[in-house]
Assembly symmetry: C2
Homo-oligomer: 338 residues x 2
């Protein structure tokens, strides 16, 4: 059995109150006593019980994060930011992965309670109205990482702007026949792809170009589906000269599918993605960069502020997007410019 605060107190010849004060860095302890107690603590390798402390203070010394589809690279980057930043602040984090629609409800109710954590992160998950209501009156502060939820603090990006940026990049290179590949039928309720598509449409519309229905492809985020999409596009009598993908993961597969049938990138076809995953750089893929790691890290910082009341809730922060032009986008071939 590990030593308790009482053991330390006895050994140090002081009361438990004094040891507690030392532990909590209260100024109400003489330097001499403090040093002595500290020495005894060190000597006994004493560490206060999280459980007891939590019960006493009314809050667990841990953060909790509910993450959607942790398997994706983007979620992983966000998670890294969360873990690093939390770690730096002395917090560990309980991680809960969610795969299916609506599966976040139970975790939210069970995890985001004072006896479970001091603060909660909701990553790439869209709480419904009922959730928001519950969250609003929730004693533990919650931050949404990657999402804009009215009434809840969080960080988000302007997905429509992102779709627009990607499209305008291609337009400025001289492309006119531009396709979109996405997965806005994602059933899980959180769907950036649809907004990126809207941005794509807006950019093309404002430039005076129409979007043939065949140019827009959607479906599950699966390799086979995306491969089929790119093939269908390239099979068109007037195939696109450029493709906006709603994510780097899509863009990679599309590019691969194109190459497989001898289509050169960027010579014959320009491809731009979204996210700027690590691999995007390696694959020389143009993309719209969103701060993934940072969204996690800043989310934790925001949460810590919220926890110590240093921030008026709800507080929303829009994260910046950045066009990263690499080798997968270029001007269309002369004979394609029609």
């Amino acid at each position: 059995m590990p030593p308790t605060i009482a053991d330390v107190a006895q050994r140090a010849g002081v009361g438990v109150g004094t040891v507690s004060r030392v532990l909590n860095e209260s100024p109400l302890v003489s330097d001499r006593t403090r040093a002595h107690v500290l020495a005894v603590i060190e000597e006994m390798d004493y560490r206060p019980s999280f459980l007891a402390r939590g019960l006493s203070t009314g809050t667990a010394g841990v953060l909790a994060a509910i993450v959607q589809r942790m398997t994706t690279q983007s979620a992983l980057q966000r998670l890294r930011g969360i873990l690093d930043e939390a770690s730096a602040a002395g917090f560990d984090v309980i991680l809960h992965n969610v795969n299916d629609v609506g599966d976040h409800r139970d975790p939210v109710r069970n995890l985001f309670r004072p006896d479970r954590c001091a603060g909660g992160l909701l990553v790439s998950l869209k709480p419904d109205d009922e959730d928001v209501e519950a969250l609003a009156s929730n004693p533990v502060p919650v931050v949404v990482v990657d999402g804009r939820v009215p009434g809840v603090s969080g960080l988000y990006i302007d997905d429509e702007l992102g779709g627009r940026m990607a499209t305008e990049h291609l337009l400025s290179l001289g492309h006119r026949r531009i396709s979109f590949i996405g997965d806005w039928e994602d059933p899980i309720g959180f769907n950036p792809s649809a907004k990126r598509l809207a941005g794509y449409r807006a950019a093309l519309g404002e430039a005076g170009y129409s979007v043939p229905d065949e140019y827009v492809k959607s479906g599950l985020h699966e390799r086979a589906v995306t491969l089929q999409h790119i093939n269908e596009l390239l099979d068109l009598s007037r195939p696109p000269t450029a493709v906006v993908a709603s994510a780097d993961s899509h863009a990679m597969i599309a590019a691969e599918g194109a190459r497989a049938r001898g289509v050169l990138i960027p010579d014959d076809l320009s491809v731009i993605g979204f996210d700027d995953l690590d691999i995007a750089q390696h694959l020389d893929l143009s993309t719209v960069r969103q701060p993934l790691y940072e969204s996690g890290a800043r989310g934790v910082r925001m949460l810590l502020d919220l926890m110590q009341g240093a921030l008026a809730a709800p507080h929303q922060v829009k994260l910046p997007l950045q066009l990263v032009a690499r080798g997968s986008t270029a001007e269309p071939r002369a004979d394609q410019r029609i």
Copy 2:
């Protein structure tokens, strides 16, 4: 303030003990009382405090996992297995990522304590002798996922056998000039690559072939390094006809580097990896499969058994390896068989 067990007891007109019994599914409650208490609990949306329960029972209702370099695909797969299995058993898990050498010591001491978790997982991390000693007398059971540590329960694979399997596959195809690319200088103390290399050497030795020093490449696990390795190998006057990579992540890069200079795979060069990541299938990469997801899931199951004393500790389980022959390995060209 959420309702307490006392609130429930009062409202139900029973004692706290009875409510507690209902909560813990004790048979010592009449069906009638139980139903009534349950109804009140439901009505008040009461949920017991983890903190208080933990303090009382002496153990936190959470698992903890310390993971090395959570950023790799293989670590992520293991983590998925852990989270899914823990979730199924009603446990959440505290996740702690470790990047640098020796950084696991503090987490182990701070996290693997009864007031923090009911059980601990050490993933792809090699505890030193001092750690093992501490772990042995530790009140919370610990399982090593992906590692063989004397005195500590866990799951591991036979890395030497794995290296051997990959090499023998190439030998059986008729290859004689076989290279190895790995990262056994990994500084973090946990190093499967060295053992896989040993297996490679053993297989070639037993087949009666010598391994020129230039055929073995090691270095940091970085893209640029691996690209350089494959280029150096292909620049040799007698270049290898096949490459054993110590991981799929290496194999992918090596294959890409080879293709970039016009070397066809598998026609001019066979490449085999290790792990069988999701992408390996997509890239049609031959590999030695190790059960990643399963190692995490089974690790949790083993931990749960340990926790309820259903298992004599320490208990070690060797996980099976499986050769997965895909399109990246084939017989050497006729003119290469010398």
